[in-house]
C-alpha cells in the first residue's frame, strides 16, 4: 500500500515525537485547580522522519501549477514567481506582531501604503482597503459599503441587488448576508446584458448592480457605459467584481468604465499562490464618494511617517488585524517587477492565449458565443452530450492526459460549460498539447465513449463516490482504531 493510504493514527506510536523542545528553565509554578485541566490529550505521536515521508507522499498525489496546465476559468492559475516566496519569508515580514508599536513596523506600513496606491491606480479608483482577506470577503465589503452609502444618504428604499444571470454563487450569498434580495438580469444571445431588461429592472429600490467585467462568460460587454448610466441615473451604484482583471491589467481602468468600486483577488490576478484553497487576499478599491465607508483600517502617510487611520464612516472591521499581509507582500513584489508595461503584457498574452484555444477548438466543441473572448473562453459540452458524454466525463478524461480540467458547469447559463482560462504564463507548446488532448477526447466521444464514462484511469484514485460521502459523512478519524476500522464506525 502506498504510504498515503495510512492516516496519522496508523503510524502513531506512544513515545514518538516529531520535534525537539527545550526544558523548563524557570521554577515551575503551582498548577491550576484540577477542574480546569484536561486529563487526556489524544493526538498522534510520530517521528519527524515518518511525518516528512507521509506528507511528501501526499504532496505527490497533488496537481499544482508547478505540475502543469491548470486552466480553471476565472481562477487565473498563473505561475507563482519563486522569488516572491523567498522575500515573503524575510523575518522582517513574518516575525512582526500586528499590535507592536506602529513606529516599529514602518516597513510593513510603507509596503501596505504603496500597495494601496498601486491598486487604486491600476483600477482607476481613489482609495483602497487591504482589509478583506479573500475575494468573497471583498465582495461582502462592497455590498456593506453600498448599504452604508445609501443609509448615509437617508435612502431607506434600497433593498435589492442586481446581478447578471451568469453571476457566481457568491453574489446571492453575499447579498443575503447583507439583508438584501437579489434579482438576475438576463443576458442576450451575444452574452451581453440585455439592456431593455436592465432598464425595466432598475429603479429606486436597487442598491447596486454587481458586475464582473469581463463577465463570467469571458466577454467584455461593450455597453458598459450605458449600463453605468442606467444604474447611476436612478441613484444606484455600479460595483465591480475584479475576478477577471487579468484581461484588463495595464489597459483598462474600472474607474473609467463607470464602476464605483471594485474588489480584487491578489491570489488570482497578482500571482500569489492559491495554496490548495487559501490564503488569498481581496482588497477593495473605491471612488471618492465611497472612501469614507471602507473597512478599517487604512494606512495613511503624514510627512514620512505611516500610520493607521479609520475611515470616518467605516463599515467596520473585517478581521482582527489588517488583512493578509503575507499575501500582500507577494502582490507588491509582482507589481514592482512588472510596472505598467509589464502589466499590459500580462493581459495581452492572457487574451491571446485564450483566443488561440478558442480558434483551435471551436470545430470540436460548441462555442455558445462565437466572438472575441477575453482571458477565458467558454465552450459547452452540447455536442458531446447528444452522444451520451457529459462535460464531467470530458473533464475526468483530461486528467488522464495529464491536464487539470477547466472549470465545469459554470456559468449556469451555458449548458455543460467548460470555462477555460489559460493565463499568460503558458507557452504555445503547452496550449497545443492541451488542444491535442481535447481533440482526442472529442474523437473518443464519437468512437469510444465508454472510456470517457469511466475516466479518469491514470490518477492516484479514480472517480469517487460523492453520494455516499454526503449520505454517510465520515469527516474525521478517531484515535481508537486504524483507518479501516473507523470507516465502519459512524464518525460524523
Amino acid at each position: 500500500m502506498g504510504r498515503h493510504h495510512y492516516l496519522l493514527p496508523d503510524i502513531s506510536q506512544s513515545g514518538k515525537i516529531g520535534c525537539s523542545l527545550p526544558s523548563l528553565d524557570v521554577t515551575a509554578a503551582e498548577l491550576p485547580p484540577k477542574e480546569l485541566l484536561r486529563q487526556e490529550l489524544e493526538l498522534p505521536e510520530v517521528s519527524e522522519v515518518e511525518l516528512v515521508r507521509y506528507f511528501t507522499a501526499l504532496s505527490k498525489l497533488n496537481y499544482g501549477v508547478d505540475t502543469g496546465f491548470y486552466p480553471l476559468g476565472s481562477c487565473t492559475m498563473k505561475y507563482n514567481p519563486k522569488w516572491h516566496e523567498d522575500i515573503a519569508k524575510f523575518p522582517g515580514f513574518t516575525s512582526i506582531h500586528p499590535y507592536q508599536p506602529v513606529e516599529s513596523a514602518q516597513g510593513a506600513l510603507q509596503l501596505m501604503f504603496e500597495l494601496q496606491e498601486y491598486l487604486a491606480e491600476i483600477t482607476g479608483m481613489s482609495a483602497t482597503s487591504l482589509a478583506p482577506m479573500a475575494g468573497a470577503q471583498g465582495e461582502l465589503a462592497s455590498i456593506l459599503i453600498a448599504k452604508a452609502y445609501h443609509q448615509a444618504r437617508g435612502d431607506k428604499m434600497r433593498k435589492r441587488i442586481l446581478v447578471p444571470d451568469s453571476a457566481h454563487g457568491t453574489n446571492p450569498a453575499t447579498a443575503a448576508m447583507c439583508g438584501f434580495e437579489i434579482s438576475a438580469v438576463p443576458s442576450d444571445d451575444r452574452g451581453n446584458i440585455d439592456l431593455k431588461s436592465l432598464e425595466s429592472m432598475m429603479n429606486e429600490e436597487v442598491v447596486c448592480l454587481t458586475l464582473t467585467m469581463p463577465t463570467t462568460l469571458g466577454l467584455f460587454d461593450p455597453q458598459i457605459a450605458e449600463i453605468g448610466r442606467l444604474i447611476h441615473e436612478r441613484g444606484g451604484l455600479l460595483c465591480g467584481d475584479g475576478a477577471n482583471l487579468n484581461s484588463l491589467l495595464g489597459k483598462v481602468k474600472f474607474g473609467d468604465l463607470g464602476f464605483d468600486c471594485v474588489q480584487l483577488n491578489l491570489h488570482k490576478t497578482f500571482s500569489t499562490p492559491h495554496g490548495g484553497g487559501g490564503p488569498g487576499s481581496g482588497p477593495i478599491c473605491v471612488k471618492s464618494n465611497l472612501a469614507d465607508f471602507l473597512p478599517s483600517p487604512l494606512v495613511t502617510k503624514q510627512d514620512k511617517e505611516y500610520t493607521f487611520t479609520l475611515p470616518a464612516k467605516s463599515i467596520g472591521s473585517l478581521g482582527a488585524a489588517y488583512g493578509n499581509f503575507g499575501v500582500m507582500v507577494k502582490a507588491y513584489a509582482y507589481i514592482r517587477s512588472l510596472g505598467a508595461e509589464g502589466l499590459r503584457e500580462v493581459s495581452e498574452n492572457a487574451v491571446i492565449n485564450a483566443n488561440y484555444i478558442k480558434e483551435k477548438l471551436k470545430a470540436y466543441y460548441h462555442l455558445p458565443y462565437d466572438r472575441t473572448c477575453m482571458h477565458e473562453v467558454i465552450f459547452s459540452g452540447k455536442w458531446q452530450k447528444v452522444k451520451g458524454v457529459a462535460t464531467l466525463d470530458i473533464a475526468k478524461r483530461l486528467l488522464d492526459f495529464g491536464f487539470h480540467p477547466p472549470t465545469i458547469y459554470f456559468p449556469l447559463v451555458v449548458d455543460g460549460a467548460l470555462m477555460t482560462e489559460p493565463t499568460e504564463t503558458e507557452s504555445k507548446e503547452m496550449l497545443d498539447a492541451y488542444i491535442d488532448a481535447m481533440k482526442e477526447i472529442a474523437r473518443e466521444a464519437d468512437e469510444n465513449p465508454e472510456i470517457l464514462h469511466t475516466a479518469p484511469h491514470n490518477t492516484p484514485v479514480r472517480r469517487l463516490d460523492e453520494a455516499t460521502a454526503a449520505r454517510k459523512p465520515d469527516l474525521r478519524w478517531k484515535t481508537s482504531g486504524r483507518a479501516e476500522i473507523d470507516e465502519k464506525k459512524d464518525t460524523s
Binding site: 498525489l61 458598459i224 517587477s337 472575441t372
Partner: protein, 434 residues
C-alpha cells in the same frame, strides 16, 4: 521586455495572432470602447529580481522583528516555536500551487491533509465535527454567531465583555449586515436576553484568565441559546477541552499552530461544532469515501451548504479555507503530538507565572486579576504603560498591550515557550526602574 513568466516569444505570439485571424493584439480588445481602451498607468518602473530582493530586504529591515526583539505581546497573535519541518512541507509546490480541490482525483494530497486537519481539531477541542478552516478567529466567531441565529431562528447575538474587543468589532460588522443587534454583557449575565441566539465567550478570556464556562453554557442552554467559545489552541495542550463544558461551537485563531504572525495575516479560523449542527456549519468540509475500485479517497462534501449551490440561502459566502495555513497547523500538531503540545503549553504556563510573580514583587506593579491564567496576565503599572513600552523598546523588548483605556495604567503581558529565563529577567529588570 523579456519576462521569465511569459514563455511565448514575439514570433510565437505573431503566429498565434495569425491563427486567431487578426493582425494585431489590439484587434482582440475591440469590444472595449476606444475611449477606455488604453488607459495610462502611473506606476514605478519595473526592477529585476536582484534589485527588488535587495530593496525589499531593506524594507523588511525597517520593521523591528521578533528575532531581534524579545516579545511579550499577545492579545490574539502569539509567537510560538515553529519546527522547521512545517515550512519544508508547506513549501512543497504541489501543495502551495494547487487550487481548491474540486477535481478530487488530482487533489488527494490536499484533501487528505484537510481530513487530518479536521480530525486533529476535533481531538484538540473535543467537538465532533470541524470544517476545513475559515479566514481567521474573529470571522469564525462572526460566522458562528450567524449560524446560531439560523439554528435558533432568533436574531440577537450576545457577547461577554471579556471577549477580545477586536473580535467584538468583527462580529458587529457581520451582525450589522443582517441587521442583527450585538449586545455586550458582563460576566454576571444579569442582562442576558431570553431571545438571544447565542452567547459568545472566550477561554481563557481576553485578559488571560479562565472563567466558569460550564455555568455560562448552562445559562445559555436554559434560554435555548447556543454557547460559542473562542479558545486558545495552544492552551488546549493543558487545559480542559471546550466539549467538556458542553459548548456548542468552538472557534479559535489557528495562527499559533505553526504559523508566523505575519503582521496579522494570513490567519486561520478554526471552527468546530456539535454533530447535530453539521448541516448548518459554514465553510468547506472534506469527507472520506471510496472510488470505483473501492480504494479509499477524499472529497469535498456536503457542498449543498455552500454558496455555489445554495446561493442566497448558503450558510456563508466563503470560498476559501486558508488551506496552506491549515496545512501548517496540521503538520505542527502532528510534529508536536500529544507530548509536545502538552510540553509547549506547560512551558508557556510556567514561564508566564514566573514572570507574573517576579513583576508582581516589584514596587508599583500588581496582578490585576487573581483567577487562574495560562500565558497572559494583566499587570497594573506604576506609570503609563505607553511610557514603559517606549523604554522597553529601546532595550529591544516589545512590551505588553496597553489596556489603560479599559483598566487604569495596565498592560496585558504574554509569555510563551519562546521567551527564555534571560528574556524574562531582563524584562523584570527594565520594569523595576519605574
Amino acid at each position: 521586455m523579456l519576462s521569465p513568466y511569459l514563455p511565448n516569444t514575439e514570433a510565437t505570439r505573431n503566429s498565434m495572432l495569425r491563427d486567431i485571424g487578426v493582425d494585431s493584439v489590439e484587434e482582440l480588445f475591440l469590444d472595449i470602447p476606444e475611449e477606455f481602451r488604453n488607459a495610462h498607468f502611473k506606476l514605478p518602473s519595473p526592477l529585476s529580481e536582484l534589485e527588488l530582493k535587495e530593496e525589499l530586504y531593506q524594507l523588511s529591515n525597517r520593521n523591528a522583528n521578533l528575532h531581534d526583539y524579545a516579545c511579550f505581546l499577545g492579545a490574539g497573535y502569539y509567537r510560538h516555536f515553529i519546527p522547521s519541518v512545517v515550512g519544508h512541507i508547506t513549501g512543497r509546490s504541489e501543495f502551495y500551487t494547487a487550487y481548491t480541490p474540486y477535481q478530487a482525483e488530482a487533489s488527494q494530497g490536499t484533501l487528505q491533509s484537510i481530513y487530518e486537519y479536521q480530525s486533529l481539531i476535533c481531538q484538540l477541542t473535543g467537538l465532533e465535527v470541524s470544517n476545513a478552516g475559515m479566514y481567521d478567529g474573529s470571522t469564525a466567531a462572526a460566522e458562528a454567531a450567524l449560524m446560531a441565529c439560523r439554528i435558533t431562528k432568533r436574531d440577537r447575538v450576545t457577547m461577554l465583555s471579556t471577549v477580545n474587543p477586536r473580535y467584538q468589532r468583527v462580529v458587529d460588522t457581520y451582525a450589522n449586515g443582517h441587521n442583527i443587534p450585538l449586545e455586550k454583557v458582563e460576566p454576571n449575565l444579569d442582562s442576558l436576553s431570553s431571545d438571544s441566539a447565542c452567547l459568545i465567550v472566550q477561554q481563557p478570556n481576553f485578559f488571560g484568565y479562565f472563567e466558569d464556562i460550564g455555568a455560562y453554557t448552562q445559562k445559555a442552554h436554559d434560554i435555548g441559546a447556543l454557547l460559542i467559545a473562542v479558545v486558545d489552541p495552544i492552551s488546549l495542550g493543558m487545559f480542559k477541552p471546550p466539549s467538556d463544558y458542553g459548548v456548542d461551537i468552538v472557534v479559535a485563531e489557528g495562527q499559533a499552530l505553526g504559523n508566523p504572525m505575519s503582521f496579522g495575516g494570513p490567519g486561520l479560523g478554526i471552527f468546530a461544532c456539535r454533530k447535530e449542527y453539521l448541516r448548518q456549519m459554514p465553510g468547506r468540509i472534506v469527507g472520506k469515501t471510496v472510488d470505483v475500485d473501492g480504494q479509499p479517497g477524499y472529497v469535498l462534501t456536503l457542498s449543498t451548504r455552500e454558496q455555489h449551490i445554495r446561493r442566497e440561502r448558503a450558510t456563508s459566502n466563503i470560498c476559501t479555507n486558508e488551506a496552506l495555513v491549515a496545512l501548517a497547523a496540521t503538520v505542527y500538531l502532528a510534529a508536536l503530538g500529544k507530548r509536545g503540545l502538552r510540553q509547549v503549553a506547560e512551558l508557556c504556563y510556567h514561564k508566564a507565572h514566573y514572570a507574573a510573580d517576579a513583576i508582581g514583587k516589584l514596587k508599583g506593579y500588581s496582578l490585576v486579576f487573581q483567577q487562574p491564567f495560562f500565558e497572559e496576565f494583566v499587570m497594573r503599572c506604576p506609570t503609563a504603560p505607553r511610557r514603559i513600552n517606549e523604554v522597553l523598546f529601546k532595550e529591544r523588548i516589545i512590551g505588553g498591550l496597553d489596556l489603560s483605556h479599559m483598566i487604569d495604567n495596565s498592560m496585558l503581558l504574554c509569555v510563551t515557550e519562546v521567551n527564555t529565563k534571560q528574556d524574562i529577567d531582563r524584562l523584570v529588570e527594565v520594569l523595576s526602574a519605574f
